[in-house]
Subunit: 290 residues, 2 copies
């Protein structure tokens, strides 16, 4: 698994840099975009997309552009979320955040540019048909827009310093992090011409995966190693954020995660595809240490 992840991460890293260099002019904006693109990251979303596409028999070259597009959206959202007016974070992945390394104006514009580019690289990709491009831009916009990720971030901001219920917490995470993870699964299955029945199961798996990811994130903020994570531990508690551990206790959160893990593995088994890599990826996401 480690080797597989490293190989795909490298593929995505190289391709992302190529895109940014090709689609921008040398200068401060390009520097700021490359800085955040280059700042590492696990590339989990694009890797999930590539793995799902492969499980459904799609050629990898058909999936690379949309995988990079997805990671650009994830990256732009981190740049904007880190801004002083939002989460006000100084460090991300062990490095100064974009607005600390450059300045706020540059960080806002670098995020805007990555978001704009995310559509452009899909519609300019030579391996996709027009029909596929339209489907992918539509689903990705839905997942990342005002009924998806951006709405989740808004609700997350509004819930700060407030006691919220577990239902509200799940609603926030389904939008804030869940929808992009779910998209990686749906897009991969779509590119491999998944049957309607398989697609239903994969959507179920994608939903569960988003929640597994978030619970593990919350758990790591309590039990993680700051050095491995590249960011301080305990920031959720410091920010008075409602999390799975704060609402369910650490053990309660872990057992909730196990339940979603079963749901995800079961849905994957029902989808009737080559499960090897995907099944391992789900386990990896659930037990990751950063």
């Amino acid at each position: 698994m480690t080797e597989y992840l490293a190989e795909k991460r490298e593929l995505i890293n190289e391709q992302l840099k190529l895109y940014v260099r090709d689609y921008t002019t040398p200068g401060r904006l390009q520097d700021a975009m490359l800085y955040s693109i280059d700042a590492g990251g696990k590339r989990l979303r694009p890797i999930l997309l590539l793995a799902t596409a492969k499980a459904f028999g799609a050629a990898e070259e058909k999936a690379v552009a949309v995988a990079c597009s997805l990671e650009m959206i994830h990256t732009y959202s981190l740049i904007h979320d880190d801004l002083p007016a939002m989460d006000d974070d100084d460090v991300r992945r062990g490095l100064p955040t974009n607005h600390r390394r450059f300045d706020e104006a540059t960080a806002i514009l670098a995020g805007d540019a990555l978001l704009t580019l995310s559509s452009q690289i899909i519609v300019e990709d030579v391996h996709l048909t027009d029909k596929e491009k339209v489907y992918l831009v539509r689903e990705l916009s839905k997942a990342s827009g005002p009924k998806g990720m951006v709405e989740g971030q808004m609700m997350d901001m509004l819930s700060e310093d407030k006691q919220i219920s577990i239902t509200e917490l799940e609603h926030i995470h389904k939008n804030k992090t869940g929808q992009l993870l779910r998209f990686s699964i749906i897009a991969g299955a779509f590119l491999g011409n998944a049957s309607e029945t398989s697609l239903v199961e994969m959507k179920k798996m994608g939903n569960a995966l988003g929640l597994i990811f978030q619970i593990q994130d919350d758990i790591l903020d309590v039990t993680g190693d700051a050095e491995v994570m590249g960011k301080p531990i305990g920031s959720d508690e410091g920010n008075n954020k409602s999390t799975y551990p704060s609402l369910l206790g650490l053990e309660g959160a872990k057992s909730q995660k196990e339940q979603y893990l079963m749901t995800a593995q079961e849905a994957l088994a029902n989808a009737g595809v080559d499960q090897t890599v995907l099944s391992e990826l789900i386990d990896y996401l659930s037990s990751r240490d950063h």
Copy 2:
């Protein structure tokens, strides 16, 4: 002309509100998006697009979605440009700017949401073919992204408090405001199946139009009426910004504008289409008082 502008503005206003309501969930994010969408604005870009589409014989219904998409991009860029880290403006069109009415985090997210929506409403439009959707998303991304509007804004920020040449100034404006105006012309001509020869002329016209628009903007910042404009006069000078009047003098700027006006009208005449409304629109843009 006034009646034509009012009628089309109303059409765009209504459609924009419908889109935002349809594509968002009630709450703070929707409120913030509607606030800036509702804050008026001349709707020059979408009207130019509709007028060009009509001149080339396209059905209006084919042009409405992309006209609204274009205005969403313009609106998001104003929200982000007004932020304290950027131009730090408190008033826009006679009303508090988005971050003053709501807060910075909400304004950033409202901008991100409008930008995301701008692609979505094109790819979900029922009047366009997949081929048209792909073309329009591609051209609009190019015009608004890191080799277009966002790059222009970055260069504009970097040129503050600096003496720049007229060539550098034109380069900034070609990107910052020119490319979206040019897109309105190209998209309209494309939807009306313009010939290659016509398209070349219309691009020429679009380029000139962007410069006419910007020179008039700069002139109004010197000679305009604050009440008619809905914002204070003289802010460019106050911000030490290089402008056409500051580089060429007021009379020099006016005569430069007249030259571009001739270029634009000549290109339009050469494009071989129904010129009536477009020709009047060019004159209107050049002599507008706000």
